[in-house]
Subunit: 336 residues, 2 copies
C-alpha cells in the first residue's frame, strides 16, 4: 500500500513504523515474539498508521512521537483481531493462519492480552496523556461494541441504526483516533482535532461498509479470507440489510426474515450460503451500499475543509491534506 | 481490611477508591456494568490500592491522582483475574461465581478486555506518562509470565528459580508497581521510587508465597475457594517443591517426581489430591515456606529504611511509613 501515490510522501516514515512494529523488548519470550512477528508481517493495509503520520505531518507534530503513535494504533488493531478471530473461530486472515488456528484458546487469550499491553506501552512512548486517554476510551468503545453485538443476538438485527453503531465501534472509532492522533500530538487547535476526528469517523464508516460489500463481491484470493464470512456467523451487514429491503419477496430475504440466518440456528449449508451471497452480490443492494459509503467519503472530505485545518496547513504541509483527500477516495475505490 | 489498624490512616481515601471503582461511564452497556459491579463488590483485600495510597501520602502526591492510580491498579488486577479464571476454568473466587461460570468464553474474553481498557483509562486520569508506561510494562510482564507458564508445561517444573520468576510475574510485579506509584506521582527522588519498588517486590513475593501456603493449609470457607487448587491444575508451588525436597521418599513426592501430578495427565482424583494436600500441610515444608516469606518481608522492610524515604517522610508523613511496615507484617500473618 505504501506504493500508492498519496503515501509516497510518508514512505520513509511508514518504513520506520514497520521497524518499530518488529522491535520487541530484549527479554520477550520466544513464543510471543514469534506470534507477534507472524501477525505483523502478514501485512494488512496499514491505513491506520498512514492516517496517524499524515495527520501528524499536516499539523506539525514531532516525528518520533508520531511514529510511536502510528505503531501503537496498528498494534492495538492487531490485538483486537487476535481475540476477534478466536471468538469467531476464524482460521485465516490476510491469507495466513490466525493465532487461534495454531495455538490453544488459553494461549491465544494471553498473547492477545500481551499485545494489548504492548500497544499501551507504545502509546505511552508518545508522552501524551491525552492521546493515551483516547486510546483507552477507544478500546472501551471497541470491546463494548463487541459485547453488545454478542449479547444482542450476534447481529441478527435488521436495524440500520444498530448496524451503523456496530461498525462505528468495530472500525470507525479506531480510524477516527488514528486521524486525530497527529493533531493531538501537535497540540493543534481544538477545532483541527475535531475536524480530523470527524474525517476519520466517516472514513472509517465508509471503510467498513466497503469491507462488508467485498465480503459479498470479492475474489477470495485477493480478499485473503472466504467470502460470505459475516453471513456465516449470522451477522447482517449493510448489503444484506439493503437486499432484504429491496427484494423482500426473494427466497433468501424471506428465509432471513423467518430467522433462518440468525446465529444460534443450525449452521448454514455451504449451498445456502452460496445462494445468499450470489443473490446479494447480483442485486442493487451492492450499488446502494456503495452509494452510502460514497456519502460518508463526501462527509469525510467536507470535514477536511474546516478552516482550522486550512490555517494549520502551511504551503509546505498542504500536500498532506491532499493525501488525506486521496486516501478517502482510495477507501471506496479499493477492491481488497 | 480497611479496619486494620495501619489502614485507618487512609480509610477515607480507600472509601473514595471504592466509589471510583463503582463509577462507570454513563453509556456503559448494562451487561458490562453488571459484570464489573459483581467483580468489584466481591471485595478482595484491596492491598494494592492501599499501597498506592500509602506511598502517595508518604511522598506527598496529590490526592486525586493517587485515587485514580489506586483504582487503576485494582481494576488492572481485576482484569487479569477475569482471563485467569477463564483459562483455569475456576468457577469460584472470593466466595462468588466467576464471570466464566455465568458467561460464555467469548463474552468473558471481551468483558476482560473491556476491564483492561477501563484500567488504562483510569491510569490515564493520573496524567503521569511515566506511571502509564509502568502500567503497560507491568501488564506485559504479567501476560508473558502466564504464557511462559502455559507453554513451559503448566508449572510441572521442580525449579525454585522458575517458581520465583513465576510469582514475580503473577503477583509481585503489580504489587511493586502499586508501591512505587505514589512516589512516581509525587515526582519523588529516584532513589525513593526505587526503594518503594523494591519494598513492593519483596512484599509481593511474600504475599504470593503465603497465598500458596494457604492453598494447602487454609479453611475453604475463609479462603473463598477450594484448597489444593494449584495442585489440581498441575501447578507446583513453593510448599510442594519444599515437600518434595524434604520428603523425597514419601509416596506423594515419589508420584510427583514420576510426573503423576503434572498437567496434561489424567486429572487427579479427589482422594489423591486430598492425600497430597494433607501430606504437604502436615510437613515441615509449610514452616520452611513461611520462613522464606518472612525473609522477603525483612527485605521489604529494609528497603523502607532507605535514606531517600526517611528524608521524604517528614514528621507529618512518618505514620505512612509505619503503616507500610505494619502492612508488611500483616501479609505474613494473615490467614485468608
Amino acid at each position: 500500500m505504501s506504493e500508492l501515490p498519496f503515501l509516497v510522501l510518508i514512505r520513509d516514515e511508514l518504513e520506520q513504523v514497520e521497524q518499530l512494529l518488529r522491535r520487541r523488548p530484549p527479554d520477550t519470550y520466544p513464543a510471543i515474539t514469534e506470534a507477534i512477528e507472524r501477525l505483523v508481517s502478514s501485512g494488512g493495509k496499514r491505513i491506520r498508521p498512514a492516517l496517524v503520520l499524515l495527520s501528524a505531518r499536516l499539523c506539525g507534530a514531532g516525528l518520533e512521537r508520531a511514529l510511536f503513535a502510528a505503531a501503537a494504533v496498528e498494534m492495538l488493531h492487531t490485538a483486537t483481531l487476535i481475540h476477534d478471530d478466536l471468538i469467531d473461530g476464524a482460521t485465516v486472515r490476510r491469507g495466513q493462519s490466525t493465532l487461534n488456528a495454531t495455538h490453544s484458546p488459553a494461549e491465544t487469550v494471553l498473547i492477545g492480552d500481551y499485545v494489548f499491553a504492548y500497544a499501551a506501552y507504545l502509546a505511552s512512548q508518545t508522552e501524551s496523556t491525552r492521546l493515551m486517554c483516547r486510546f483507552a476510551e477507544t478500546l472501551m468503545v471497541i470491546c463494548q461494541g463487541e459485547v453488545r453485538q454478542m449479547l444482542g443476538g450476534r447481529g441478527g438485527s435488521f436495524s440500520f441504526r444498530e448496524y451503523e453503531q456496530r461498525i462505528y465501534a468495530k472500525t470507525a472509532s479506531l480510524i477516527s483516533l488514528a486521524a486525530e492522533a497527529g493533531a493531538i500530538l501537535a497540540s493543534a487547535d481544538e477545532r483541527a482535532v475535531q475536524a480530523l476526528r470527524l474525517y476519520g469517523k466517516h472514513l472509517g464508516l465508509a471503510f467498513q461498509i466497503v469491507d462488508d460489500v467485498l465480503d459479498f463481491t470479492a475474489d477470495e484470493e485477493m480478499l485473503g479470507k472466504p467470502v460470505g464470512s459475516d453471513l456465516r456467523q449470522g451477522l447482517f451487514t449493510l448489503p444484506f440489510l439493503l437486499f432484504i429491503e429491496l427484494e423482500a419477496q426473494h427466497p433468501v430475504a424471506r428465509r432471513a426474515l423467518e430467522g433462518e440466518y440468525a446465529a444460534g440456528r443450525a449452521p448454514l449449508s455451504e449451498a445456502a450460503l452460496y445462494e445468499a451471497v450470489q443473490a446479494v452480490a447480483g442485486s442493487k443492494a451492492i450499488e446502494q451500499a456503495m452509494e452510502i459509503a460514497d456519502r460518508h467519503i463526501e462527509w469525510a472530505k467536507e470535514a477536511l475543509a474546516s478552516p482550522a485545518l486550512s490555517s494549520c496547513a502551511t504551503d509546505a504541509r498542504r500536500d498532506y491534506l491532499i493525501a488525506l483527500l486521496e486516501l478517502a477516495d482510495f477507501v471506496v475505490r479499493r477492491r481488497f
